[in-house]
């Protein structure tokens, strides 16, 4: 593979992600009330020319609800990913200040990594009473350790780099060194880390909502759609679960591939 290929892939994925995400973000403009609009004469209609991806038990269009659900997942995902990355970066930066703080933060990282994060996720989301904010906080609080571990290792290595040692001997403060020498170096790692966290956050949001401690059941979230579909799947209404599931898979794959190619390109 030539050195330019990862960059070409990255550009292609960025273009695809931009199209997909712009469609999702702009969807309320042209979806209007479609995700919530009931048509009692077209309940549980299979996919057809008039109902592209079929309708649910209340006659609501599955395509409209899937798009609305993916949009919601996108915002939850991006918020949780940014919050998780901010926590990881802050704690990794604090770890560089002294060996005691480093030991404390390393212990916290190891402890959190040793606990199955789905259990922790459920407990935090449940303790916070469910809802969008609870999901965002729960995902962020359970997903920062692996990124923090990478950032901490990178920052600690960099702290002993000759140019950082020289900066220190030139009288620069710890804050200056952190802000101008160390953090700019790990920002690409943060970007990739946030992008890798993003699909996790979306999947966990859907899982939590499916399990009943996530988003409000009245919202057209992917987890809500999948939970609703479970009641009808054995009756042969396959489109209720398949299309939201495929939509989620496409979004997650798109972001995951984007992060993967960016990591190789940067």
């Amino acid at each position: 593979m030539s050195p330019t290929q990862p960059r070409l892939y990255a550009v292609a994925y960025i273009a695809f992600a931009v199209v997909l995400l712009s469609t999702l973000i702009a969807s309320p403009l042209w979806l209007g009330a479609a995700p919530l609009q009931m048509q009692f004469d077209a309940r549980l209609a299979p996919p057809s020319a008039s109902h592209w991806l079929g309708t649910d038990a209340l006659g609501r269009e599955v395509w409209a609800r899937t798009l609305a659900g993916l949009r919601l997942s996108f915002w939850v995902g991006i918020s949780a990913a940014l919050l998780g990355t901010a926590i990881a970066l802050t704690l990794a930066a604090i770890a560089t200040l002294s060996s005691k703080l480093d030991a404390l933060i390393s212990l916290l990282i190891d402890t959190l990594l040793s606990v199955p994060h789905l259990i922790l996720l459920l407990l935090i989301a449940f303790a916070l009473g469910g809802g969008t904010q609870a999901v965002i906080i729960a995902v962020a609080l359970t997903h920062w350790p692996s990124l923090a571990r990478v950032l901490r290792a990178e920052l600690l290595t960099l702290r002993h780099a000759p140019y950082v040692c020289i900066s220190r001997s030139l009288g620069k403060s710890r804050g200056f060194i952190l802000l101008y020498h160390l953090l700019p170096h790990v920002l690409p790692h943060c970007l990739v880390g946030a992008l890798l966290l993003f699909p996790h956050a979306i999947l966990h949001e859907a899982a939590l909502t499916f399990l009943g401690v996530g988003l409000d059941p009245n919202q057209p979230a992917i987890g809500v759609l999948l939970a609703d579909a479970m009641r009808y799947i054995t009756a042969g209404y396959w489109w209720l679960g398949v299309f939201p599931g495929l939509g989620l898979l496409l979004l997650v794959l798109c972001i995951d591939r984007l992060a993967f190619t960016l990591r190789r390109a940067l």
Binding site: A161, S169, L170, G171, H185
Partner: protein
């Protein structure tokens, strides 16, 4: 005066790299340090500049310890200049981190104004080394630890660099510890020289 008293240092507890090292470097003096590869020359240089802490012994400047904060009066110039600069900074910013060197000084060291807007990777090793040397000449610096700074330069650039540094050091009474494998260079630059063998220092001239 920069002094080292009975320094001991090892990267592993049971193995000393430097054993009972004592030396003194006066202001305005040029002191040479030679030794085999792996003898501990760079380690001694880093200890003197405060980049490493000795296992035993102490380093004094005018009888007191090296300052823990602020500009260190002892500056270390490493062999590889590309590791001594932030690769994301332009040359002007690299220099400004220490001070704003006058144009005459930049000229004396052959630093061209066009280099200032370049990133380190756009300069050769010799060009970057000159930038590192000028950065280390900030007001308040009294001693330089020049750790094989001319090893990777061609002979003409070596002469130009040492001449410029010698002129500046004499004018500002800088003490310079020249670490090198090149005994001819040390004999030319330094009236007093040491040789480091297996962690032990011996006067060689």
């Amino acid at each position: 005066m920069l002094e080292a008293h009975h320094l001991e240092f090892g990267f592993r507890p049971e193995q000393l790299v430097l054993n009972d090292i004592s030396l003194a470097l006066s202001e305005g003096e040029w002191l040479g340090l030679s030794g085999d590869s792996g003898a501990g020359k760079s380690t001694l240089g880093k200890l003197l500049a405060g980049q490493l802490s000795p296992k035993d012994g102490r380093i004094c400047i005018d009888g007191g310890p090296l300052p823990a904060r602020g500009l260190s009066p002892v500056q270390w110039l490493p062999q590889s200049p590309e590791l001594a600069v932030n690769p994301r900074w332009r040359v002007a910013k690299i220099l400004r981190e220490a001070w704003q060197p006058p144009a005459a000084l930049l000229h004396a060291f052959g630093i061209q104004p066009a280099w200032l807007s370049r990133f380190p990777h756009a300069l050769s090793g010799g060009e970057l080394q000159r930038v590192c040397v000028v950065r280390a000449l900030a007001p308040g610096v009294r001693y330089l630890i020049a750790d094989e700074i001319s090893t990777m330069l061609d002979p003409i650039t070596q002469v130009a660099l040492w001449q410029a540094l010698k002129t500046y050091a004499e004018k500002h009474r800088l003490g310079v510890l020249v670490i090198s494998h090149d005994t001819a260079l040390l004999e030319r630059l330094c009236p007093r020289r040491y040789h480091l063998t297996q962690g032990v220092l011996a006067a060689s001239g």
